[in-house]
């Protein structure tokens, strides 16, 4: 029964959705200090290439590859975060966009390492790897009444879901703490924040690195799910797409990018039947959204409204911390 419901197609879409959610969060993190980074597609690429190359050439376990990918991306985040500290607003946005382009061009041209635009194929597939590991222990999907590919996609999905929940949990907690307040203060008024004793250099670079880390992680996961990557995956369109998740869903609260990525990944699938027009519709939706609800679909007020409905009359504790998660 259940086995028939587990359709790899849906799981595939759901897995890409989760990756997109993670990517959306990566932009949200940096943005919560007021810095708009469009380099996250590039960081994603760095994570993906690092992990792919390590697992292929050094036969490292996928987990190690993914962690290394995320870390290398984070280091690049620090390296680009420090010199761009002085830049603000759109300047930063464009420079990071440019950085992303430069990374892509390097992927294209550094053929000995990256195989150029032909891309890297034969990357260990995380789901198949899980399956073969488990089979080593004598497990067989049919024990669960599943077919192999159902199991493969189910395991990817479950893994991603757990990671996504962890990331959301992590950054929600960070948000409602001293660190989160520092981020918010910097976003609202950098000079005033510094005068209040906040080391803005540290926190801005921290946010940048965290964003890069998360994006790099998403990239590494992506590489091991698709089993094939090429520079075109991490180009301008991806950067813009990630940004749109955040702005569409809302950049004030972490649920914004989560919802944005969810909805905008789902929509093209739902709209497949008019596939020729779906990008036009995509464009239109963005324009209409901005005109009607520029702060994004989900904002602080909406969350508070939900909360009030839920705890109607109930006692609110630590109210100050609850404003926005």
């Amino acid at each position: 029964m259940i086995a028939e419901l587990i359709n790899p197609y849906y799981l595939q879409v759901a897995s890409f959705m989760l990756i997109n959610i993670i990517l959306g969060i990566s932009v949200y993190i940096t943005l919560s200090t007021g810095q708009l980074s469009l380099a996250n597609a590039g960081f994603m690429g760095i994570g993906a290439y690092t992990s792919a190359l390590l697992t292929i050439h050094f036969e490292l376990p996928i987990v190690v590859g993914i962690i290394a990918g995320a870390l290398v991306a984070a280091i690049c985040g620090i390296l680009i975060g420090i010199p761009t500290l002085r830049l603000q607003g759109v300047y930063l946005a464009i420079v990071t966009l440019g950085f992303g382009e430069v990374i892509r061009v390097v992927f294209v041209n550094w053929e000995t390492l990256t195989n150029g635009s032909v891309g890297i194929s034969g990357i260990p597939h995380i789901g198949r790897e899980i399956l073969s590991t488990l089979q080593g222990f004598g497990f067989n999907p049919s024990m669960l009444g599943l077919q192999n590919n159902q199991f493969i996609f189910l395991s990817i999905f479950t893994l991603l879901l757990l990671v996504t929940i962890f990331i959301i949990w992590f950054f929600r907690r960070q948000h409602s703490s001293r660190v989160g307040r520092a981020f918010a203060a910097i976003k609202l008024d950098e000079k005033a924040a510094e005068s209040m004793g906040i080391n803005i250099t540290y926190y801005k670079v921290l946010a940048f690195a965290q964003g890069a880390l998360v994006a790099g992680f998403a990239g590494a996961m992506y590489a091991h799910i698709l089993a094939y990557i090429s520079p075109a995956d991490f180009a301008y369109h991806r950067a813009v797409e990630i940004l749109i998740f955040v702005v569409f869903g809302g950049s004030e609260v972490i649920w914004g990018p989560v919802f944005g990525a969810f909805f905008l990944t789902l929509m093209p699938e739902v709209l497949r039947f008019i596939s020729e027009y779906r990008y036009m519709i995509y464009g239109l939706i963005i324009i209409i959204m901005m005109a009607v609800r520029p702060q994004g679909l989900i904002d602080v007020n909406m969350l508070n409204w939900f909360k009030r409905k839920r705890v109607k009359g109930g006692h609110k504790h630590g109210a100050g911390n609850q404003k926005g998660m």
């Binding site: 420079v95 440019g98 702005v247 036009m280 464009g283």
Partner: protein
């Protein structure tokens, strides 16, 4: 070969500059990066192609048509994608950026449906006129492009710096509310600016179509990104900066082909802005305003 390459670089640079001027104008007034500018530019080129090849009309009709249609597109862009955001409370300063990205996605895909995905040749006899100087062939279009870019730059910088309308425009850019208190009809100023910038994009589109005999729906994105890099390089809102940035980039891209690896050509623009901004965060000609 050097002289030929120099001509190539200047032609390319002049085109970049014209595109960048359109960006600069809109940024200068609205503080908005108009991500749809590249697509409007592309539409200008297509209108030119349609009028010259399908309707077999003369070139000036093509220019007039492209200007009119891109101007209308500019109006629509302002009316439907920018104006609704303007007086809203709590609007993130990124909202207009996203909104114009929405427009660019819409336009790019619309152009696929209207014009097809393929390349369209630009057949204008004007584009064939050339002079032979020694072994070097110079096309009239190349000269025209250079001259137009210079004229546009001079006109714009005179207009912005010296005329009342230009000052009103700068005031609008600084602070909408203050400008309107000083008697500036900000709505009209903004609409006019977006229209003019778009029409400039349309002109640039035709010129590119003629110079390179190539018009595709994708030309907008690549040109748009370059234009963006240039206004940062030159300093946002600076007319001279856009011109200088355009020429620098055009020459740099040409000479990396000559002396370096053409594979890195697309990265030049962004490497240049990263370096420039680290040394001079406000860009080459931008002025620093501390708040």
């Amino acid at each position: 070969m050097l002289i030929e390459q120099l001509i190539n670089g200047i032609t390319l640079g002049s085109i970049y500059a014209i595109v960048a001027l359109g960006f600069t104008l809109v940024f200068g007034v609205l503080g908005i990066i108009n991500m749809a500018h590249g697509e409007i530019f592309m539409f200008g080129a297509f209108i030119g192609v349609m009028i010259t090849s399908s309707l077999k009309a003369p070139l000036w009709v093509a220019f007039a048509g492209a200007i009119v249609i891109t101007a209308i597109m500019g109006y629509m862009l302002e009316r439907f994608a920018l104006r609704p955001l303007r007086h809203k409370q709590g609007v993130s300063h990124l909202a207009p950026l996203i909104s114009t990205i929405g427009v660019s996605i819409l336009l790019e895909n619309l152009s696929h449906h209207l014009f097809g995905a393929g390349n369209h040749p630009f057949r204008a006899s004007f584009a064939e006129i050339n002079f032979q100087i020694g072994s070097i062939t110079v096309y009239l279009v190349q000269i025209v492009i250079f001259v137009i870019s210079i004229i546009l730059m001079l006109t714009l910088s005179f207009w912005l710096g010296k005329t009342k309308a230009g000052k009103a425009l700068r005031a609008t850019a600084e602070n909408l509310e203050t400008a309107s208190l000083l008697g500036v009809d900000t709505k009209r100023t903004i609409t006019m600016t977006v229209i003019i910038a778009s029409a400039m994009g349309g002109i640039a589109g035709i010129l590119v179509g003629m110079a390179f005999n190539s018009v595709t729906p994708q030309m907008g994105l690549s040109m748009g990104l370059k234009g963006l890099a240039i206004i940062i390089l030159g300093g946002m809102g600076s007319v001279r900066g856009a011109m200088a940035g355009g020429l620098i980039l055009g020459l740099a891209e040409t000479f990396i082909v000559v002396y370096g690896d053409s594979g890195y050509r697309d990265a030049i623009a962004f490497l240049a802005i990263i370096i420039i901004l680290l040394i001079r965060p406000q860009g080459l000609f931008g002025q620093k305003i501390s708040t």
